[in-house]
Symmetry: C2
Subunit: 315 residues, 2 copies
């Protein structure tokens, strides 16, 4: 989903002709498209053979699926990432170090695990409580080491939970954060499995694409040796989400949220981070949404093309 | 080296008969001994087939070699560790989860990279500046995830730099920390490639073996989800080392240290941690040497059998 929106953004900037897209499942595109499993030997080499100067690595088995299928999560999220990095290293060696592409890796705030400080900064320990978070944290470590050795010029960005995620729910345990906004805006009932006091860290799909585009252009020399950054976001409780929905779409929308507490999801979510100190990413020019209301308005504009006031410009 | 001393300690406790030892290079032992490459498919399964209840995983390509040979470092330190963990997971699954051994993994303070706080605690980011440190940090993440999933009961201990390391110098860039004590005590010249102000974190081989034995017996339930701990140590500058040597062995020993600044080693060492807040490990019962002088006396007692006053008991 983020990949599709990134392609739209890059195409809009006149960079569509130079794009090669890759996914494990078949997809429609007007761009050069390759469908393969990156964790299969040889596939990463095939992708890197054309020596792209900029590589976005977004691929992942999502958190719920990586937890349910241990082997698949490690194979795709860890081995797939490592094979990609290794393929770049081989091209780099073939070219005597002259081929050194920018690699933008989407990590996740799932690299962090409770207990947390009041706000998590970029010096806080990666102690994930899911296999998905473990795989992302390992990806970050590999990215740093391969960059330090000069095999590529990497940057890892830890995306907040993307909200409002368009389309159908996926297997992520975080699905309800989007569902309680998306479904009511479409006139449908949504299930809320956790209490309203649950607090979390959000970015709109539009902000996430902005992070990726900015990461592709950033002067990585200014990052020093620490090439992974937590992205800025909006800190909001589920109660804040519902209040924002009420302000944007009225009481009748908020009434479509049905409480159905689920102890399993409550337990998973209780181990997730709630709030960040993203001052490092802000200092490097990454920009968040300005409020949860704006996150909802962006969803209306980008997905439902409904008239809504434009998002407030950030001061 | 630590492995050999651990075997001596366990044998002294009457546990020798139950030991199986493994190394990649041939070695002499009165115990059951297996020589193989853990990173070769099938070898880890062979080792775990007998279902040992306690596994010490000490193996590693050292820092200097892992930096010089990228492929070997990742193959042995990352793939070897992962194959061992996977082999245990398979036995665990075969037994319906009933086989769940204690795994003691020796990590390293090389998982940390500059810039540092005044003292590094167990919540500080793992941002290694070497491939060796990266491989150890990944091992820690895997250990935590495999333990969380119930495949084994793991604990990772980050050893301080071991000093005084007996025998010949190895390829570790940290070799001089031991060399400037070991060689003068044997009446030989030692080369000091860095300035006396370089500060670092040390444990004697005897203390390191104590950490391993304690980790094997610890109630891991009390650790919570964070199963990796920085071990307590002695914080000392190179100047402190030389002063301790002078106090223990006299001026004639200290005069055998020849200054030969090496900018490459200076640069590597400048990225290493210097001081720790090991209060978490102390709270869990791990005990350090009490001073650098005692570290020297332990070397005299354990390696040279020279008469030396016994180490001061820790208050």
């Amino acid at each position: 989903m983020i990949g599709r929106k990134l392609v739209e953004r890059l195409s809009g900037q006149g960079k569509g002709a130079e794009l090669t897209l890759h996914d494990v499942v078949p997809f429609e595109s007007t761009h050069k498209a390759i469908v393969s499993d990156l964790s299969t030997p040889g596939e990463a080499e095939r992708l890197v053979a054309a020596r792209p100067g900029l590589i976005f690595h977004l691929a992942a088995v999502v958190s719920g699926e990586a937890e349910a299928d241990f082997d698949k999560g490690y194979r795709v999220n860890l081995d797939g990432t490592r094979r990609l990095f290794e393929a770049i290293r081989k091209e780099n060696a073939t070219e005597g170090g002259a081929y050194r592409p920018r690699v933008v890796f989407t990590s996740s705030i799932a690299v962090f695990g409770a207990p947390f400080p009041e706000a998590i900064d970029d010096e806080f320990l990666n102690a994930p409580l899911t296999s998905y978070g473990t795989q992302k944290a390992i990806g970050e470590l590999l990215l740093s080491d391969y960059s330090r050795r000069g095999f590529f010029d990497g940057i890892g960005i830890r995306l907040p939970t993307i909200c409002v995620r368009p389309g159908k729910p996926n297997k992520a345990a975080s699905g309800f954060f989007s569902g309680i906004i998306r479904e009511p805006l479409a006139g449908m009932e949504a299930v809320l499995p956790v209490s309203e006091s649950v607090r979390h860290w959000f970015a709109s799909p539009r902000a996430a694409v902005g992070f990726l585009v900015h990461a592709a252009q950033l002067d990585t020399a200014k990052l020093g040796t620490r090439r992974n950054l937590s992205m800025p976001g909006v800190c909001a409780t589920v109660g804040d989400e519902i209040e924002a929905l009420r302000r944007v779409a009225g009481d009748q929308a908020a009434k479509l949220i049905r409480r159905a507490p689920d102890p399993i999801i409550e337990r998973i979510v209780s181990g997730w981070p709630q709030n960040f100190d993203a001052s490092r990413a802000l200092a490097h020019g990454f920009r968040a949404d300005s409020s949860f209301e704006d996150i909802i308005r962006i969803h209306l504009q980008d997905e439902l093309q409904k008239s809504a006031p434009p998002p407030t410009a950030r001061a």
